[in-house]
Symmetry: C2
Subunit: 162 residues, 2 copies
DNA sequence: GGTGAAATTTAGAACCC
DNA sequence: GGGTTCTAAATTTCACC
């Protein structure tokens, strides 16, 4: 896990965006096929992909798993409001949230809450245990509100590119 | 008296879960390497992956793109509360939310809101335009609250397995 | 950025438990 | 039914222009 030293070469042209658009849908698409789609040669496509991986535009290549099919059917959203705004306490909370495997995503936000967590668990009892650990076990957590997902209307993890 | 093993559907054994655990981190991992890691042969791994793709356990294989690096740096969370609970109106709202490219994820939830949206835009002006389209343009939207992400503390790529 | 050949990976068939 | 060893096809990778 090394930091990326913001190269000046982080610019993406239209062809790079087209490649990303394809890989966001299916990163198993052969470079040859991509090359035909954007009128380039396969090695040129390969070089662009490698560059985007190196500079961190492409964070990872992953398989998306349906939570319901692996017995992790419950998705929850949690708004967390903190008591004190001291940086050390915030950082401690961040670390504890990020360390929990049930916490799939965690964002520090502005608005009527301080953190928004997306939690995936097998059963509500697992969530109850998590709340005791993360929230009731932290004096700096003033309040939290939970929303239980009943339906994933849209799951797209891809970012709209033009 | 024969038991119904419900084979061929969604039964996953420990080896399947181990494979998923690997592919969720890096789906470019060669089958050969996976095979070594879980002490199996490459074709066996290949058959298991193919099966999990066919029955929908693996939803897709994608590249994860850093929004900030493609000039889509603003992530927003929106709680939407509806006026009427009529199914037709809900479905219409679902469709309009899902159809918007800026809406990366949409969930139907229980709690003090009806929908939670995760929105990614280039600039706040894009979000303002989106609110006019989706919320102010829909009489059935009673209220919505927006949270602006200031930091991605944890970016959930994978579902915790095991 | 393009062209070609080599190396790696994936896909498939035959066989065994 | 699932696993293993083999071979063939496809893809990625790396020389070079």
């Amino acid at each position: 896990m090394s930091e990326k030293p913001t190269r000046g070469s982080a610019e993406l042209d239209r062809l790079d965006l087209k490649i990303l658009d394809i890989l966001q849908r299916d990163n198993k698409t052969p470079q040859r096929t991509i090359a035909e789609m954007i009128h380039l040669s396969a090695p040129a496509v390969q070089r662009r992909i490698r560059r985007m991986e190196e500079i961190g535009v492409i964070r990872a290549n992953v398989a998306l798993v349906d939570p319901a099919r692996v017995d992790r059917s419950i998705t929850l959203f949690v708004e967390v409001e903190m008591e004190s705004e001291r940086a050390e306490l915030y950082d401690a909370a961040k670390r504890s949230f990020a360390a929990a495997p049930e916490v799939q995503q965690c964002y520090y936000v502005t608005g009527e809450a301080d953190f928004i967590l997306i939690v995936i668990v097998r059963a509500m009892s697992d969530y109850e245990a998590l709340t005791r650990r993360l929230f009731f076990g932290n004096n700096n957590v003033k309040r939290f509100r939970t929303f239980v997902s009943m339906e994933r209307v849209k799951v797209g993890l891809s970012i709209p590119l033009e």
